[in-house]
């Protein structure tokens, strides 16, 4: 069902010499997306905290 092009883990990393291009893109792409999620979640918490403080003071 699934025929792998690679024989071992090193071949997956190397990808016939293209590994540096493939994995660097993965690294940067996933990092940016993960940071975006973290920022979005942090913003929600910050806004909610500000609103609660505002409600408590009024």
């Amino acid at each position: 069902m699934f025929n792998s092009e690679f024989k071992n883990f090193n071949e997956i990393l190397d990808m016939s010499g293209h590994g540096i291009y493939v994995w660097s893109v993965y690294l940067v792409g996933i990092s940016i997306i993960a940071i975006s999620f973290l920022i979005a979640k942090k913003r929600i918490k910050t806004v909610q905290r500000k609103i609660k403080l505002n409600n408590a003071s009024s």
Binding site: G17, H18, Y21, S24, V25, V28, G29, I32, I33, S36, F37, A40, K41, R43, I44, T46, V47, Q48, K50, I51, K52, N54, N55
Partner: protein, 169 residues
């Protein structure tokens, strides 16, 4: 974004403007990733990381448009006015989308013509086509969830003085 911009301009739907403002950073981010990954992949395939190719240039313009939308909105203290001008810029910017799509057909440059076709047969091998389609669906869901998170915080911050927000929080 264009549909939301139209809704905001024609019917003055506030939520539509909030969604545009929330979606713009996500659009900028994903366009940047596209440009960045394309540049890296361009080195082994084309021998250059950058070329003023029609597809790359039109995508760069899209990225600049996203930044323009965010900058324009941030430069006004009157948020209602900022929403309106941002919506107009989005409507103008949407002209770029068909240009990006058709750039590989209209100009013969580095990029090959479209490999995937909805109506006809795709030139891409099925061993790559199906993983690509699954990845596109996955990315779509991820961006939708990021959009929901982003719009949630923005709606709360814009409506923070409203009673429903106080009740909600």
């Amino acid at each position: 974004m264009a549909v939301c911009a139209l809704m905001h301009i024609v019917w003055r739907v506030k939520l539509a403007a909030y969604l545009i403002k929330s979606a713009a950073p996500i659009g900028a981010m994903i366009t940047f990733i596209g440009l960045f990954s394309g540049s890296i992949w361009g080195i082994p395939t084309w021998g250059t990381w950058w070329q003023w190719d029609a597809r790359i240039t039109s995508t760069l313009i899209l990225f600049i448009m996203y930044l323009g939308v965010l900058t324009l909105h941030g430069s006004f203290s009157n948020l209602e006015k900022a929403d309106r001008l941002m919506s107009i810029l989005v409507i103008i910017g949407v002209v770029n989308i068909p240009i990006i799509k058709k750039s590989v057909d209209w100009w013969s440059t580095l990029h090959q013509p479209a490999s995937i076709s909805v109506s006809g047969s795709s030139s891409i091998d099925p061993s790559m086509l199906y993983p690509l389609l699954i990845s596109i669906i996955g990315l779509g869901f991820m961006l939708i969830s990021l959009g929901i998170l982003s719009s949630r915080s923005y709606i709360l911050s814009r409506e923070k003085n409203k009673k429903w927000v106080s009740d909600y929080v």
